[in-house]
């Protein structure tokens, strides 16, 4: 459909909110070049910072976009491909469609996600799939897959959906979560702090918080969305319930082994 190739790294962050497939559809290349984006607080045109061509079969961003924020924010439908790293707020508030990032993403990606799919081939920053600051109603549906590592407070206040991290997730993953599933190959400390419901599956972690009580050994119940990860999830896991620091908590954490790293 359209490829936007970054000409040069901007001094200030570019904010491409609103540049989603449904907005560029049916527009000529000249019209797309004239669409407004923000550079800092200043309005600029897409053409000032991007080469616009009609290559590819989806909306494609190309180049080192680590200073480009809000790619695919409020996405409802269609596909976005990012060839390179992306900045903050990738796929924030998205309700549908698919975003694939071939590099890494920065913090607040898939914030308050309500549906759709985000795939990150590299690493993700902090607050992946978390709730907006202050909100107690976080990610409610959809799927996030990170092939590398993820940052702190991944899936905080999560209510539904699935987050898969094939690498290591930093501390406080699934903090305050109320539903949904998080899978991580490795997790640093304090997974599921203050969680009320939902489940976290960890292949290895150094320790759990004292609010978690051991229940039994079992194979984890795997949701449909997690089936692709079957080869990573195998064998017997220790099931813990918690976090009993909260009243009436019904969360579950499955841990295969406890290793310090």
């Amino acid at each position: 459909m359209v490829t936007l190739r970054l000409k040069r790294t901007p001094d200030l962050c570019l904010d491409v909110e609103g540049i989603i497939p449904e907005a560029v559809q049916g527009k000529t290349l000249e019209e797309i070049e004239k669409m407004e984006i923000l550079n800092g607080s200043r309005k600029v045109n897409i053409g000032d910072y991007f080469d616009v061509t009609d290559e590819g079969n989806s909306l494609i961003f190309e180049g080192d976009l680590s200073k480009v924020k809000r790619i695919g924010m409020n996405l409802r439908d269609g596909e976005i491909l990012v060839k390179g790293n992306a900045g903050m707020y990738v796929g924030a508030f998205m309700r549908g469609g698919k975003i694939t990032v071939e590099g890494s993403v920065d913090a607040f990606s898939a914030l308050n996600m309500k549906g759709g799919e985000l795939i990150v081939r590299g690493n993700a920053g902090d607050y992946l799939g978390a709730s907006y600051r202050g909100d107690w109603r976080g990610m409610s549906s959809g799927k996030i897959l990170v092939e590398g590592d993820a940052g702190k407070e991944t899936g905080c206040f999560m209510c539904g959906g699935v987050i898969i991290i094939r690498g290591t997730v930093d501390s406080y993953c699934g903090v305050k979560m109320k539903g949904g599933t998080i899978f991580a190959n490795k997790a640093r400390t304090r997974a599921g702090a203050s969680m009320m419901a939902g489940s976290i599956i960890l292949n290895s972690t150094p320790e759990l918080l004292p609010g978690f009580f051991f229940e039994r050994k079992m194979e984890p119940e795997i949701e449909k969305l997690l089936e692709l990860e079957k080869e990573l999830i195998e064998g017997e896991y220790h099931l813990f319930s918690g976090d009993h620091a909260e009243r009436g908590a019904k969360g579950k954490i499955y841990v295969r082994e406890f290793i310090s790293f």
């Binding site: 709730s131 907006y132 202050g134």
Partner: protein, 555 residues
């Protein structure tokens, strides 16, 4: 500057004008009888002309409002406006920032608003925030509920000193009227207790809630304050609290009105009109409360609840805690030294919840059942809903069809309230009463605010709707017309034109300055030295801290 608004259809209850086509002449910020020449003319043919709106109870500035803004960043996501045309930026849906508050009021045709719960210790903060609210005129009511001075003088039955303290505090905080929240209850909250009834004693102080109310009302009357005591009674929001409300209204039975106004204003009465003995049997007793209000010399504001997401904030600490235990959402409690203890927590009023549906209906019942010269429209912003939703509320009052449509959503409205049996629909005259005339009169400002007679401030709202060809079943049209004014005039200047703010002016802050006897000083010195974290000399808000402060007197 001279201006004539021509051919508008005018509703002005204080002057008995009910939908007459007439011209309004404005000169130097006031309304005058006639202008012979040199006036700019604006034709507002077939448009609704009313005095500027007056909101008697709206938490727009102060300590807990700011806490609400800080604790709800997600609320700012729901509404924000960027800086343009010389206007400031702002954000917030249920707790809008100061500039946005002013703009949103003006957009609805409101020109005066009261922030009704100012902890005296946060008076300086409140006034600096009020300074930042543009265009509209403002007032602040300091809190007297859990105040150690008040309770001490009431316990000693020393009415002169109480009166002296009331006057001193109004002066010190640049306040306008006496506000009481959960009398005694906020002090009891310091001991993790509450005062649930007017005859319950306050721990460690030999007083009851009834004594606090009675004595403050008496003090208010002899000080000749423009507004009466502004009372948020005991036991707000719990099932079966209507009996406490009836007793609270009866506390003023023996007190004669000395000034030409009510002796007590009951605020957000909807939250006090519940029957039943648990949340399962929770129902509306608005009819009984309304009967009592009609009998006594009081005014009320409704405090309607509207479905949706909002932030609750009151100086009633124990109430906010009990709300938090129900919703289990984030909660802030503050302790203001010797004075009060406010709390803040978000709340979602859900259409599916029978309790919320009863609350929704009870507020509308009150507005429809109480005499229209006693009712004032509020949502207790932001407790029942943000003030920006007043047009929706007005449409509900005016259209039975609209209410019936809502009522289908939850059968609790039919089973537990009497709303569906009420056929009354308010007309524009009555709307002008409950949003303009009554609040101005209740605040003692009926000479300059809330009407369009000669010498009134030229605060005028013009809406793009023809009230003479009005059909109550077309509620969407009412809501749309009232949510964006066609013209808003403040002190004779056009501040809003066709929904866009064209001029930003600083609004006044009114305060009262009653006489104070120096006999109060030894007590003040002692308490400030012993208990307060600030010194007496730092406590007093100076006159020049108010950008456009104005002393208001009854004469």
């Amino acid at each position: 500057m001279k201006l004539i608004l021509k051919n508008g259809i005018v509703y002005d209850p204080l002057n008995g004008i009910n939908g007459e086509r007439m011209d309004i002449c404005i000169k130097d910020g006031r309304i005058v009888d006639k202008i012979w020449f040199g006036a700019r003319k604006i034709d507002v043919r077939n448009k609704l002309v009313m005095p500027g709106g007056f909101d008697l109870h709206s938490h727009i500035a102060g300590g807990k409002e700011n806490v609400g803004r800080m604790m709800r960043p997600e609320d700012s996501l729901r509404r924000f406006s960027v800086r343009k045309n010389g206007l400031r930026s702002g954000s917030g849906y249920s707790v809008p920032s100061t500039f946005l508050t002013g703009y949103e009021y003006v957009k609805m045709g409101y020109t005066t608003a009261v922030t009704p719960a100012m902890p005296p210790l946060y008076a300086r903060h409140t006034h600096h925030e009020l300074n930042d609210i543009p265009i509209i005129d403002k007032m602040a009511f300091p809190l007297y509920d859990g105040n150690w001075f008040v309770m001490k003088y009431v316990a000693e039955k020393d009415i002169d000193m109480l009166q002296n303290y009331v006057a001193w505090l109004l002066r010190a905080t640049k306040g306008f009227a006496v506000k009481i929240v959960n009398p005694g209850g906020t002090e009891a909250w310091g001991w993790r207790r509450n005062v649930k009834d007017v005859d319950e004693a306050v721990p460690h102080f030999n007083v009851t809630s009834r004594e606090i109310i009675e004595n403050l009302v008496k003090a208010c009357e002899s000080l000749k304050l423009p507004h009466s005591v502004h009372l948020h009674g005991n036991d707000l929001g719990s099932p079966g609290n209507f009996e406490t409300a009836l007793k609270t209204i009866d506390t003023i039975k023996h007190i004669d009105a000395k000034n030409n106004r009510q002796v007590l204003h009951l605020t957000h009465l909807q939250f006090f009109s519940y029957g039943g003995d648990s949340w399962k049997t929770f129902d509306s007793r608005a009819d009984e409360v309304a009967k009592k209000v009609n009998k006594r010399d009081v005014t009320i504001d409704t405090g309607n609840v509207l479905f949706g997401d909002t932030t609750t904030m009151t100086a009633d600490g124990p109430l906010e805690y009990s709300l938090h235990t129900i919703t289990r959402l984030k909660w802030v409690n503050r302790d203001v030294e010797l004075e009060t203890s406010p709390g803040v927590t978000p709340v979602i009023y859900s259409k599916k919840s029978p309790v919320n549906a009863v609350q929704w209906a009870a507020g509308i019942e009150l507005a429809l059942l109480i005499d229209s010269d006693k009712v004032i429209l509020t949502t207790d912003h932001p407790n029942g809903g943000p003030f920006t939703r007043y047009p929706e509320l007005i449409a509900l009052f005016m259209s039975k069809k609209y209410r019936d449509k809502y009522s289908e959503m939850n059968n609790a409205i039919e089973r537990r309230t009497g709303l569906l049996t009420i056929d009354r629909e308010l007309d524009f005259y009555e709307i002008a009463q409950i949003t303009r005339a009554n609040p101005a009169k209740s605040a003692g400002m009926e000479k300059i605010k809330g009407h369009l007679g000669v010498n009134a401030h030229a605060d005028i709202a013009v809406y793009d709707i023809n009230p003479l060809e009005f059909d109550s079943s077309d509620y969407e049209k009412i809501e749309k017309a009232l949510s964006t004014a066609f013209l808003t005039l403040k002190d004779g200047e056009i501040v809003l034109k066709e929904g866009k703010i064209v001029k930003e002016t600083p609004g006044r802050t009114y305060w009262v300055n009653p006489d104070v006897d120096s006999a109060i000083e030894p007590d003040l010195n002692e308490y400030f030295r012993k208990y307060y974290s600030v010194s007496l000399s730092n406590y007093f808000v100076q006159k020049d801290e108010l950008v456009r402060g104005e002393i208001f007197t009854l004469n």
